[in-house]
Amino acid sequence: MSAEQAPRTVDGVELAVSELIAGYGGSPVLHGVSIIVKPGEIVSIVGPNGSGKSTLLKSVVGIVEVLSGTIRVGERDVTGWASEEVARIGVGYVPQVDDVFAPLTVRENLEMGGYLLRAREVAANVDRVLGVFPQLARMLTRRAGKLSGGERKMLAMGRALMLAPALVVLDEPTANLAPAIARAVLQEHVRQLAATGASVLVVEQRAKAVLEISDRTYVLTGGQLRMEGTPAELAASNEFVESFLGGSVEGLRAAGA
């Protein structure tokens, strides 16, 4: 089943982050970052390690303390909300690690994702998620901790989809994955996710691969936005390739092509 066939079930919502300063223990990692995700868009954030990409996502979902600036989801100002409250208004979050309930089965993980739903809705939503990720249907009774990297990430996304989120936030979904699996996760799973209608904000280390599926991309370095643009614009920019990937642009293009 290809991504395009998955039923569109939600209306994406807009995310607007403005002048965000956030960090750990009172010391900022992000120094005034503004981004926007329009309804139904796939927006990616790339940048080197330690540039604050994950911190940005974690402040959006209420895990990291916001020192100043605002975060708006749709019409709601969610700045400083607890993460369960952010989840309750339809923001799904897939963390980079610890992304499933390892001791529970795949089915239980999905049911946990639908914790806020009524019993009847849970069953219906499990079916809907299995429609989005049909591969999960074969492994419902397996323990999440025993899944392979790709399967596990698919489950994590499926778990986040249970509440039919209008915005899905993904933190490096391809970390720890072999190249081929990583490509599948981005090309298929993230697209399947977006096909539900949800807006998607994804942080990635594999810049080139994520460009291929993004509507727009932000480049973050040292806790500040460095560039912004469509994939085509960025790919055309030598500054982008050099700043992020380093070394010779030509060599890379030649190799990557």
Partner: protein, 608 residues
């Protein structure tokens, strides 16, 4: 009245001795032994049965083993020895890699069970009734009922407490004590720098146990009786309360705690007239108060009344504030780290002989799995001497796991590791470190409550004072070498331009400064293979570049450096060869320029 005062003095001395033992074990070495009281009990029983006549002598009204009727001071010496010996099996529990609170629970339960066994097995130590009529020291020559005897006993207790204080202070202020404190702050790192955790923990348990045994022997010689009620597990909590309230890691604090808690609460109030009809009210309330004190102090003043003091070694004017509190790290401003290494001088070359072979370090078929997932899946590599080798790869490629296996902090599931042609696969991390294979950590791993210069001094191999014996022999034995080492450490700090930080707590430094401390600390071991796990992560780009230059300099001097890094630009600039890993395997190896044209590499690392 005389009896009251002398009793207080004797108890004060005995409590101080016990608390000093716990202070050394828990405050300095960080070993949480909730079974501490049974070492005091062992000492008391030992002294009792060594000084008592055979149990048939008194018409057999009490049963016990031994009964050797030994003269003073043999029972006291026996008490000390048995206290120390009893610690050895305990080391088996603490020595294992067990969650700290699980181990503590295990020891607590052990103490409860020892009490139960002794209570119920009468032939051994007279069971629940306990031993009585224990002969007092020198009672045949002196009159134990006279006030002169009481005063002498108090004097002896206080003098012994002073001797024990000097003893533990001597241990703590030595390089050995520094190593114990380093282990307390971060045991995994201490291990990776060549410290044998098991033997350090064992020696701490034995030291504390022997001191507790001495206190028990002294106690039973004064009160002449000893029964299982005297050493319930709650008594251990009292001693912990004393050390926590007095100040962990400060022996004067332990003495103060001994005076404030067990002495003031248990003994000084002994003669408060009982409340009519409720003789038990006051003792019960004392226990409640001790419980409250523990909770209140841990909340409001976890460092105690007399906190561990910072040791000024370099004598620099470095403005050191009070002890760092774990929760509040000093705010690190990245920009200020930028020029940290602007004045770096050449680093001295390792004294180890230069390796002439092809591969100073090699591994073959190295595997490691966690819960069935292969983090490293069959890696075979050879590292040429005096080169700066880089390892790159996506998150989770197994780079850090590989490094940890080479250094021995993680045991390999399978495979062999050769250093200078010798198989080191089975060696523990500290043995490899002593052999010259030393690692750093990705996460901050400085010993927070050691000063910068102490951090540098800790890993120096072959320190005369870095053993129990050396520490015991005293400064005269190790002082001269220590002064040389301090000069070496100062020289290292000066080369990095960080001498002003020498006496600051490492936990108070900025992120970049801590990175440098870690590198300097590793260099102090004069490694011939230096394994670095993302040494530039999170540091200012300019500092990262300077660190790179420094590493290149090290290699020119003959050191082999293997570095895990994320940033391709750093690989480009400094590393040759570069190893690319993905999914636990080696994908490619070679110069960065060649690798860039390797489609598979670009795919794995950049594209996915």
């Amino acid at each position: 009245m005389v009896y009251y005062i002398t009793t207080l003095l004797v108890y004060g001395g005995i409590d101080a001795i016990a608390c000093l033992g716990l202070s050394q074990q828990f405050g300095v070495a960080g070993v949480t032994n909730f079974g501490f009281i049974i070492f005091q009990a062992a000492g008391a029983y030992t002294a009792a049965i060594l000084s008592l006549p055979p149990d048939s002598a008194n018409g057999g009204f009490q049963q016990y083993v031994l009964g050797w009727n030994l003269p003073f001071p043999l029972p006291l010496i026996g008490a000390t020895l048995i206290g120390g010996l009893l610690a050895v099996p305990f080391a088996a529990i603490v020595g294992r890699r067990l969650r700290g609170d699980f181990a503590a629970v295990g020891l607590l339960v052990t103490a409860v069970m020892f009490n139960l066994l002794v209570t119920n097995f009468q032939p051994f130590l007279n069971g629940a009734a306990g031993l009585s009529l224990v002969p007092q020291p020198l009672q045949s020559v002196l009159n134990p009922l006279g006030s002169a005897y009481a005063w002498s006993y108090s004097a002896a207790a206080i003098v012994l407490a002073f001797v024990v204080y000097r003893f533990v202070r001597r241990l703590t202020n030595s390089p050995y004590g520094r190593t114990l404190r380093a282990m307390r702050d971060n045991d995994v790192v201490a291990d990776s720098l060549g410290k044998n955790l098991r033997s350090l923990r064992t020696s701490s348990l034995v030291t504390g146990g022997a001191i507790a045994g001495l206190s028990g022997g002294l106690l039973v010689g004064f009160i002449t009786l000893w029964d299982p009620q005297a050493w319930g597990y709650a008594e251990t909590i009292v001693l912990f309360a004393a050390v926590i309230i007095g100040g962990r890691g400060n022996h004067r604090g332990a003495v103060l705690g001994a005076i404030l808690v067990p002495l003031a609460f248990e003994e000084a109030t002994r003669y408060i007239p009982p409340v009519p009809n409720d003789a038990n009210l006051v003792p019960a309330l004392q226990w409640v108060a001790i419980g409250l004190l523990i909770v209140v102090f841990l909340w409001f003043r976890p460092q105690g009344i007399l906190p561990e003091r910072r040791r000024i070694i370099a004598g620099s004017r470095g403005v050191g504030a009070a002890a760092p509190t774990a929760a509040i790290a000093s705010p690190s401003v990245p920009e200020s780290d930028a020029g940290l290494l602007d004045h770096v001088a050449a680093i001295p070359v390792s004294a180890r002989s230069r390796y002439q072979g092809d591969a100073i370090l090699a591994c073959s078929g190295l595997r490691r799995s966690f819960d069935g997932v292969h983090a490293v899946d069959g890696v075979t590599l050879e590292f040429a001497p005096a080169r700066l080798t880089g390892i790159i790869g996506p998150n989770g490629a197994g780079k850090s796991t590989l490094l940890a296996m080479l250094a021995g902090t993680l045991p390999a599931t399978q495979g062999r590791i050769l250093h200078r042609g010798e198989d080191i696969s089975a060696l523990a991390a500290h043995r490899r470190a002593r052999g010259g294979v030393v690692r750093t950590f990705q996460l901050a791993s400085e010993f927070k409550r050691l000063t910068v210069i102490e951090n540098l001094l800790t890993p120096i191999p072959g320190q005369r004072g870095d053993s129990f014996r050396g520490a015991f022999l005293g400064r005269r034995y190790w002082g001269a070498q220590e002064r040389e080492n301090i000069e070496r450490a100062k020289a290292m700090l000066e080369r990095f331009g960080l001498e002003a930080l020498a006496d600051r707590y490492a936990g108070d430094l900025s992120g970049g400064q801590r990175r440098l401390v870690e590198i300097m600390r590793a260099l102090m071991t004069e490694p011939d293979v230096l394994l670095l796990d993302e040494p530039m992560a999170g540091v200012h780009p300019r500092l990262a570049h300077q660190i790179g230059m420094l590493l290149v300099g090290l290699c020119e001097g003959g050191t082999t450096v293997i570095m895990v890094e994320h940033e391709l630009s750093i690989m480009d600039e400094f590393c040759d060869p570069v190893i690319v890993m993905a999914e636990g395997r080696v994908l490619a190896e070679g110069a960065m320029a060649t690798l860039r044209s390797n489609a598979e590499v670009v795919e794995a690392y950049l594209v996915g």
